[in-house]
Symmetry: C2
């Protein structure tokens, strides 16, 4: 279909901006995987230059004028048409970026860098006081940021909107309340009534080279393609789309902890598959930029947990595992391994948490950052509030701030990101229920290493749509219901009830 | 020293442009080393976007105005002052880029890509006819390019100027005439009167992994530093500066031909050292962009040949070589290896040529491209002219175009690059003579692996100056004489006279 001329002009400018953003991504990837340490200061300037040029080109009056023209030209089109979706998504970004003064954006970016430096030191020394000034500055900058927008809206809504467009603070509060009410008794039941699970075999010695070979083999069996993907090793794993046909994922390995490499890779594979599956029609447009982090995280969690930590997957994959590590697995069978990688144990560190307790880590972070943003919690009182909640939700003591409030770097960069992790889990369960309806033989397929039907379903229903739909629009379209905690709680109750031999009544 | 305000403003814009050019370099590096094949079309667009933005920002009226102001403000400064050099170098680029219409630049760039595709196929099938249309288009585009500039000047001068500012066609003709007259009899003497040299040991089996380890060790001993350099393996080796403290070099390995990996790496190390040695003051300015390819090539040839293929170097390095390949070198000593890597043999392929015959390959390419550009040779007659010259200069028959006129890709991208290879050899010998005067114990130092004095001399006299001086200005400043063939011819006569046991009269 021939698009109006103003749409073509808009696409020309936005295409360049997407190019610059993908280049910025590559600069970051290279920095974390390839760049010699000496290149850091040059790289920082290169990244700043690319960000500045992309910003200037985007918030120009010309883009504003083209958006006005395009809105007029496409208003009669279907809501989900290419042109109308493009204009809608671009408009959302434009209005937001236009309202934030360039100086404030630069100040936030600079403050984030120095906050991260302070955080690294503070965590090393387990000394919250070292991080406190950066936290205060960050909060103050967010207050100024929020003040750029509509004052009627809850300040946290504006922050959340950067990561999860359309979802409000009230939405998250309601759903997290339901989630917490389901999780706390489940954790308690497992602790009080659950069977003992021996997970010691995951801590045997696994040479990294062999782990890499294993992970490559597992990834190729689920859909990693050598001519359009890369896998690299980093300190903090991530995934990115550098361009169409160029998906890069990363993981990390510990010689004495096998799950990190495998599940880190499957997690990032899920993110990568989402990026790879965006409709080619959306390439080099804002519609290829996947702006719902909840949806994004649903894809990583789906492959990491719903596939990767399932019994069916290890029916398929255990022989490969055993072949790679014959001595380490000489006395272990698939069922023992399946139970080991699903052991539930309240723990201090979020990134090491199991599927059941993970979301409690997220809920408490959300509650604390909300209190910081609305002013009901003073930054200096954060460690005490943190420790209290860990005791409350997980029943454990925090020995020091390094294992508590200082464990995550996210608050160097802002607030509003954490909830998307838990939303991802919930959405994954909602999608999984729907996939199971559409592909009743899914578990059998996974059990024999047949992943194409699942991938095809995800591409058609989720990936190909790019960012044309918000999270709630996507849920409405794909599963026909709003964001909900129940499917996830049911999934946990079924899976862990069986693993731990809980009676149905205890987990109801 | 406080620079005038207009210089600061100019630096701000030029800094961004250098950032974009370095990013373009990284995009190319990544494409050749890391990128999955599927990313090619996205990458082409990203590179085009970066090139376009850099071009637009540079040829803006604002830069023109700032250059005018800066010229007025710095005209009383010393010729080699930072600000005056900056303005002089930026002006040279600006005037040239400004005169070339954006459309022509884009057409040349697109034609180069499709010419390269045609060349790959043509070479595979050894079929010059497949490449002929691309060659004709390329020539026609260069005629339009040349027509953008002063019509009084020889058309080839404008092409040469892109790679070697300030050197004219007449300069190259004169010096190549002298070079040819010295080389042809030397090649004949070696063939007719030289001793037999056994080079069979370089064709034994050398596992690539061991070669990589050897090359890394050799590079580290001559100055490669892990915290600011990278070494990777590619099909066509190159070197680049991604930023200050981020120098990337590449080489390639053949299991049955040892010299390629070692000397490829030492060659690119020379390029990399030049890029690394530019004064930090010039970082993110046009003065860090090394615009004399002859000077650049002098640095790579110096490390590849004057150091790497010297007897002194293998006195130092042979034990490492022998330790890496004990069986392959069980019956070989340093002297035999030294002679083997310096065997002179007229051959068809430029990149495999020895130090003596190499320049004859260059001279004939220069003569042919000059004839193409001035119209005295029709493109369809090129293969015949090529084969005739190979017979004339090297005394060998060309079996097919793949081993003749189609061996190099350079003519896909333009004309005027080839001469800089030979100029590099000449300049290397001129510099080497001067280094030898300043550091009389140089050979002894190399013989014990002491490279710091040589590196320091090169940094001080060549590298640190960045592109403040043209090739002839640099020669005038550093060696106190103009570009000359004699030092190189003397070097060859001495070295190969000794290796081949020629009488002085035969090589005089």
């Amino acid at each position: 279909m021939a698009e109006p001329r103003s749409v073509d002009q808009l696409l020309l400018i936005l295409g360049e901006i997407v190019d610059l953003e993908r280049i910025a991504g590559l600069l970051g990837w290279d920095q974390q995987t390839m760049m010699p340490a000496g290149g850091a200061s040059s790289r920082a300037r290169q990244r700043a230059t690319v960000a500045l040029i992309a910003h200037e080109r985007f918030v120009s009056d010309e883009v504003g004028r083209l958006l006005d023209e395009c809105e007029a030209a496409t208003c009669d089109e279907d809501y989900s048409s290419f042109a109308r979706s493009l204009v809608r998504v671009a408009r959302r970004h434009y209005d937001k970026e236009r309202l934030v003064p360039k100086e404030l954006a630069a100040e936030m970016s600079a403050a984030a860098s120095s906050a991260h430096e302070a955080w690294v030191l503070a965590r090393e020394q387990s000394d919250f006081e070292r991080f406190l000034p950066s936290l205060e500055t960050g909060l103050e900058l967010r207050r100024r940021y929020v003040a750029c927008f509509d004052e009627e809206t809850h300040p946290y809504d504006h922050l959340l909107d950067d990561y999860e467009p359309g979802v409000t603070t009230a939405d998250v509060q309601a759903i997290f309340a339901e989630l917490r009410e389901g999780l706390v008794p489940l954790v308690r039941d497992i602790r009080e009534h659950g069977a003992e699970i021996d997970a010691s075999m995951v801590h045997r010695t696994y040479p990294v080279g062999d782990q890499v070979a294993l992970v490559e083999q597992l990834l190729e069996s689920i859909g990693f393609e050598n001519d359009s993907w890369r896998l690299d090793t980093v300190v903090h794993p991530f995934a990115l789309r550098v361009g169409m046909g160029d998906i890069r994922i990363t993981t990390r390995y510990f010689e004495d902890y096998l799950p990190a490499g495998i599940f880190g890779a499957m997690h990032e594979f899920g993110h990568g598959l989402y990026e790879a599956g965006v409709s080619p029609e959306f390439d080099r447009t804002p519609l290829e930029r996947l702006s719902s982090l909840g949806l994004h995280e649903s894809q990583s969690r789906l492959w990491e947990n719903l596939v990767g930590r399932s019994r069916a997957f290890w029916e398929f994959a255990f022989p490969t595992l055993q072949k790679t590590f014959p001595t380490q697995f000489s006395d272990i069978d698939a069922e023992q391994f399946y139970r080991a990688i699903n052991r539930v144990e309240p723990s201090l560190i979020r990134v090491e948490a199991d599927e059941v307790t993970y979301n409690l880590h997220i809920i408490m972070r959300f509650e604390l950052e909300l209190a910081l943003v609305d002013g009901s919690l003073a930054p200096e009182d954060l460690p005490a509030a943190w420790n209290e909640r860990v005791d409350d939700y997980l029943g454990i003591d925090v020995p020091d701030d390094a294992h508590g409030v200082l464990q995550d770097p996210h608050w160097c960069f802002g607030f509003g990101y954490f909830p998307t992790y838990a939303l991802g889990n919930l959405v994954a369960a909602q999608l999984w229920r729907r996939v199971g309806g559409d592909i009743p033989e899914l578990a059998d397929q996974i059990g024999v290493g047949e992943f194409e039907p699942l991938r095809a379903w995800l591409v058609e229903n989720v990936h190909a749509r790019g960012s044309t739909l918000t999270l709630s629009e996507a849920l409405d379209t794909v599963v026909g219901e709003p964001l909900a905690a129940r499917p996830y709680l049911d999934y946990l109750a079924d899976k862990f009830g069986a693993i731990y031999g809980l009676t149905p009544s205890a987990t109801a």
